[in-house]
């Protein structure tokens, strides 16, 4: 069973993980996302770029139903993960979010120890049978987030005591600890200095081996560096979506060209 899935995955490495069709999002009367179709491939990094307020973060939050926590927000259309409609009534948003992890713009470690921060997800979802397994998951997640060597001697000290870059990597470790299939990142580097940014970008590239990553970013250099596919949003519309190289070197839409050359923003 396990072998079959693995074999299956390699064969379809570039298969679509998420399919969105005709997605509309309303905040009260404000039409924030207008008829967006996107296919997000498995084990790739997809970047969402666009000027502020263009709806890229809103769309990202549709993918793990985080918009459900905002009472005035309404989502229409169809979003499928592995062919399953995530807005179906039978889907439990809480379970969905364990499969679709998220990292936020500002590092938001919980007021708990480093260990408890990472163990939070596995604990609430009952992913481990005993303490030893939990220890293992925590160590693996921290290693994946390239933080293990820095914090292994102080796992019991508070997560809020780390530096900004470390906090963000802790949040990434926390998100990967539940072994999600998709990792959503909402401007994960905007509160970080260049060195921490470089570390997180390197990390994103490594995470691609196991997850499909969707990253919202304001930095076009960052999109070009880390992503394989890029989607350009403008005023709630998906203007252009394609291979990152093509978007940056040979955009088809004049608005995309205007944005990446700095004429609109």
């Amino acid at each position: 069973m396990e072998d079959m899935r693995l074999a299956d995955r390699t064969a379809s490495a570039r298969e679509n993980k998420i399919t969105a069709r005709g997605v509309q999002v309303y905040y009260g009367t404000n039409h924030a996302i207008k008829d967006v179709d996107v296919d997000i491939a498995d084990r790739t990094v997809t970047a969402f770029i666009g000027p502020s307020g263009c709806g890229k973060s809103t769309f990202l939050r549709c993918l793990n139903r985080m918009n459900d926590t905002i009472p005035i927000c309404r989502v229409e259309g169809r979003i499928e993960i592995d062919g399953e409609d995530i807005y179906d009534k039978r889907v439990d948003p809480v379970q969905l979010r364990a499969r679709v992890g998220m990292v936020f713009q500002k590092p938001n470690p919980f007021p708990k120890s480093i260990y408890d921060n990472v163990a939070y997800g596995p604990r609430i979802h009952g992913l481990t049978r005993n303490r030893a397994e939990l220890d293992e998951v925590v160590e693996k997640s921290l290693r994946r987030a390239a933080l293990w060597n820095e914090v292994k001697d102080r796992l019991t000290s508070p997560g809020t005591g780390l530096s900004g870059g470390q906090q963000q990597r802790l949040c990434i470790a926390r998100a990967v600890a539940t072994s999600p299939e998709v990792l959503l990142m909402d401007e994960p580097c905007s509160a970080l200095d260049p060195i921490a940014t470089a570390q997180v970008e390197e990390l994103i590239d490594e995470l691609r081996e196991n997850f499909s990553v969707v990253i919202v970013t304001h930095s076009m250099q960052q999109a070009a560096r880390v992503s394989q596919r890029t989607a350009f949003f403008h005023l709630g519309n998906l203007v252009e979506f394609g291979e990152t190289g093509q978007i940056f070197t040979n955009p088809r839409d004049p608005r995309t060209e205007a944005y990446i050359t700095g004429r609109i923003g």
Binding site: M66, R97, P111, Y120, G121, T160, A175
Partner: protein, 486 residues
């Protein structure tokens, strides 16, 4: 001169200073206000402040000290023999003040002249009619020393008032002149004004701190007085409270302290969980519309006067507990009980705990909630594992605040818990608290000389120390958790 007129004069001088300050600054800058260091208004304001604030401050201090100094001087004129049997020096002093006012009124109405007044003697019939015309009724016979003291009081007051007027006006003028002389285009009036603002802010905070210090000092002073009359050992160690106004009372604090703690404990056991759950519901679950409606509705509870809660305890809760719990269980027959007072006080404390905790929970950053939801936590998991730990220092503070409220509460306990000072574990027994006993020791026709009345100050001191310890504890707890969580 009338104080109001004096204040007006000072303000007039200051206003003139304002105009002159502006003018002088502007003329120094050749009429171009851009050459000034500060906005032109600041120059006027600086002169205004230097002319008014020191003068008004002097006025306030003088008015505060003057009666004390004069009474000390005049009081020396009264011999021990002038004090009637059973009276006291303070009563005679108030007679002196009334007499002096009567004489003032008599002169003001033109019934007598200053010269005639100086010749009046204590036995004169004319004096009696003068004073009764002025509305001052003489009690016992007027002693010559008292009349002389009243005359001295009058002349001292008049002299002092004259000196006061001269001094205040002089200070105002000097302040205005000195600050005017300093005004030039380079003068940093803005910065001077800033320092004035700082001084005003510090002075305001000092008022609060000094008042606290004054209250503590008076409590301490009277408590020391009490311990001179009554052995401290008995107060702190005796287990009976049995005041006798004939003397020979037992004034042990333990039954009262126990009652206070027991009632507060019952109140908190009831109020903290309910209040906390309300706060969690309001801040995390309730819709915005419900919240705007429910929060004020709960806070109405805090606006109900405690005497009304007391009535509720006396008429409703007490008999209910007695008939359905205490009597069937054989625990007591009294409707006034620790349970009654505790429950009703708990209801009173609910809005304290819920409102404060609600604010604190709302202050937990939304990013923490998002982070928890994004991992797939449910709402209650988020509340238990992320929000409550983050809000804990504040919640502990809210609970301790409610606890000091409970310890200081009087009315509900008077009407709900009774007045019997007992050491008992049974919550359906009537007990009493420190606050109730302070009230009962001080009501009625008493004088502050016997241990039975002075004990109230010692009790008050204990109450104060108790809430102080609670507050310090709250600070320590909050700091400890803050270190852990930030």
């Amino acid at each position: 001169m009338n104080i109001a007129v004096l204040v007006l004069i000072v303000l007039a001088i200051s206003a003139a200073g304002y105009v002159l300050g502006r003018h002088r600054a502007l003329s120094g800058a050749q009429g171009d206000r851009r050459n000034l260091h500060s906005l032109i208004g600041y120059y006027g304001q600086t002169v205004f402040l230097f002319a008014s604030v020191p003068a008004l401050f002097l006025l306030a201090v003088w008015l505060f000290l003057q009666p004390m100094l004069i009474e000390a001087r005049v009081g020396a004129m009264i011999q021990p023999s002038d004090i009637p049997e059973g009276g006291s020096a303070t009563l005679v002093m108030s007679d002196v003040r009334r007499l002096a006012e009567g004489l003032d009124a008599a002169i003001a109405s033109g019934a007598v002249t200053e010269e005639a007044l100086a010749g009046l003697q204590a036995g004169d019939a004319e004096l009696g009619s003068l004073l009764s015309d002025a509305g001052v009724a003489l009690g016992a016979e007027l002693r010559p020393n008292v009349l002389e003291a009243a005359k001295a009081y009058r002349s001292d007051s008049h002299g002092a008032r004259l000196a006061l007027t001269a001094a205040v006006i002089a200070v105002s003028l000097v302040g205005a002149l000195l600050s005017l002389l300093r005004v030039s285009p380079e003068y940093r009036a803005r910065n001077v004004f800033e320092r004035f603002v700082l001084a005003a802010l510090i002075a305001s905070s000092l008022v609060a701190v000094l008042t606290t210090a004054g209250i503590i000092a008076s409590l301490l002073f009277e408590s020391i007085h009490f311990f001179q009359l009554y052995p401290a050992k008995d107060f702190f160690l005796s287990l009976t409270w049995n005041p006798q106004f004939r003397g020979g009372s037992d004034l042990g604090i333990w039954p009262l302290l126990w009652g206070t703690l027991y009632v507060s404990f019952v109140a908190l056991i009831f109020a903290v969980p309910v209040g906390l759950l309300i706060a969690i519901y309001l801040s995390e679950y309730a819709s915005k519309r419900l919240r705007t409606f429910a929060k004020p509705a709960i806070e109405i509870l805090a606006g109900i006067p405690t005497i009304v809660y007391g009535l509720f305890a006396l008429i409703t809760v007490g008999p209910l507990l007695r008939d359905y719990f205490a009597q069937p269980l054989g625990l007591g027959t009294s409707s006034a009980s620790v349970m009654t007072a505790g429950l009703v006080m708990g209801i009173m404390l609910i809005p304290f705990v819920s409102s404060l905790s609600d604010d604190i929970i709302n202050a937990v950053p939304q990013s923490l909630r998002d982070g928890s939801f994004a991992i797939g936590a449910t709402q209650s998991e988020t509340v238990r594992q992320v929000i409550l730990p983050a809000a804990l220092p504040g919640i502990v503070g809210a609970i301790l605040l409610a606890a000091s409220r409970a310890i200081g509460e009087t009315m509900i306990v008077v009407m709900g818990a009774g007045a019997a000072a007992k050491l008992d574990l049974n919550p359906f027994q009537a007990m009493t608290t420190i606050t109730v006993k302070i009230v009962s020791q001080l009501t009625g026709d008493t004088e502050f000389a016997s241990p039975e009345t002075l004990v109230a100050f010692a009790l008050g001191m204990m109450l104060f120390l108790f809430t102080l310890v609670l507050n310090v504890l709250a600070l320590v707890v909050v700091r400890k958790y803050r270190e852990q969580y930030e």
